[in-house]
Amino acid sequence: MAVQLDSLVQGEGSIVSRELFWRPDIYELELERIFAKSWAFLCHESQIPNKGDFFSTYIGEDSVLVVRQADGSIRAFLNVCRHRGMKISTADEGNVRSFTCTYHGWTFDLGGALVSVPNIEKSFNGRLRTEDWSLQPVSKLENYRGLIFGNFDPEAVSLKEYLGDMALYLDLLLDREGGTEVYGGVQKWRVQTNWKIPAENFVTDGMHLAPTHTAAVLALAPEEFDVTKVPGFGTSTYFTSTGHGGVVNDADAESQRRGLNAMLGPALAEYYYGLAERLRPKYGAMASYVHNIGSATIFPNFSWLAGRQTLRVWHPKGPQETEVWTWTLVNSECSEELKKQQRRTSVQTFGPSGIFEQDDAENWSQCTATMRGYVGRKLTMPYLAGQDNGDAKHPGKTLSAGNGGASEGAGRSFYRHWLQVMTSRGR
């Protein structure tokens, strides 16, 4: 039975069926129409500095190797041997001269070309042309200020065009004197939830900050911190027409400063306030984004938190399972002490042991578990917040004001775009 997608997202993204988060046939279509055709964040260039360094990741459920070449360039290909489909590398990362398949010993060079096949003359008698069996490349690869993105779709628009106005927010995350680097590895863990639930949380959900995270705020806050003014009660969202967007915190400047102080410690918080001043001539009022306690998602599944500078990918692992990968991004100009502090606070607050994210994972997995029931699965969910508030409280380009409450504007945009790509890209 063909999937009837149109009826699942209604009212310009303001009413969404819970079937989106459960049905295996929808998930299969997502692998085809979203993940095989979208730009995906693969890794940071600092993770693979030397010739032969590689990092293993996924685009959708496709295993992908990102490899530093002899000439310093970066290439990426499917981690699938062209003979019988064994993984070319089972490591998470490492350094190699070439990739030799453990099954029948075919060897591929760093660029993915098949360079040797054991006993090739006797076995194949000229019928196997090695040039026909290179590793399948990721069709397009781009480096955006140190972040490596890949896309399997040879027809895909450029990353710049794909990002559109969202590039501004990525610039505010990455435009640093001396660049940025990943500090301290990749945390990986499984959450029993559909990938869109966390992606949506980061794109639009300011509404959950106070109710979900009160315990974490209370734990971090110094005694004098006024918990009735927990940052997050007022949030707006910004978004593009292509599903990207994020949450900006509308709390007054004083509360925000105290919030960032409690989360990052005074030294690092002050660094970000200083950084904002240095970025102000170039970015104007938007420079404050670097210390705003907000979140963002680039469609479909790459998210980050400004200030806290944790990057994450919500890897889909089936309709009800997500593998979360997080990186801590540090600014190269920072002292080793500040870098350590950035990493320490990002691990303390986010990640599997993070005092904020523990509770997110609990909510997301329970939201998914309730879709097991046939009746519960047929319900719809409202994304109505902030619909009447109008725009332009923040200086970002497209936004939906929270007006002191929360806005789900970027969520509506996320699901509008989801429907658009799911119905227009086809068979």
Partner: protein, 185 residues
């Protein structure tokens, strides 16, 4: 408390290098008491078992290949958890708020500690000890997680009692299969 050891006895044991068998049972008793506190969520009492300068870390493990050699690396910079006493206390405060949803209602946990080995004596009043553990977490209806690994501790004798001065928890997973880590090991 069973983990109390006579200071002189302990110091003599350390000095004479007899840190193995009879000393191990005191360490084991200490660990069994500690596991019990964790399982009962008596976390303030657990905090009292830590020195003020405690460092508690859980590194990320990575499947690596280096020029053909495969290793599972335990990083000394990449962490799943990296706390001092203040951070650990904040975690306890968080649970005490009654609003830490990942532990409301509380999980049922069981910490099993085995393979205790006293490795060495450091500076006259510290022991390095390794132990293995399984921490089982059962939650709500049928949710269950196993956190399995090894611990490398530095135990310091403080007024005749052990306190944990360093703990390195090495889990046996590269991808955590649990949705979060709400408990400590």
């Amino acid at each position: 408390m069973a983990s109390t050891v006579q200071k002189d006895e302990a110091l003599n044991a350390i000095k004479s290098g007899e840190v193995a068998d009879n000393f191990r049972s005191a360490v084991e008793n200490f660990y069994f008491e500690e596991a019990d506190l964790l399982d009962q969520f008596r976390l303030r009492d657990w905090l009292a078992l830590l020195t003020d300068d405690v460092i508690y870390r859980i590194p990320i493990r990575v499947n690596r290949t280096d020029r053909g050699r495969s290793v599972t690396e335990v990083s000394d910079t990449d962490m799943l958890l990296d706390e001092d006493k203040r951070g650990l206390t904040q975690r306890v405060v968080r649970l005490e708020t009654g609003r830490a949803w990942a532990e409301e209602p509380r999980s049922r946990t069981r910490h099993l500690v085995t393979n205790v080995r006293v490795r060495s004596v450091v500076g006259g009043n510290e022991l390095t000890v390794s132990s293995n553990f399984i921490a089982y977490r059962n939650r709500l209806e049928i949710e269950q997680d196993f956190y399995v690994g090894t611990r490398e501790d530095v135990l310091r004798l403080d007024a005749g009692r052990f306190k944990i001065a360093r703990r390195l928890v090495i889990l046996d997973q590269t991808v955590l299969t649990a949705k979060n880590m709400t408990i400590l090991f």
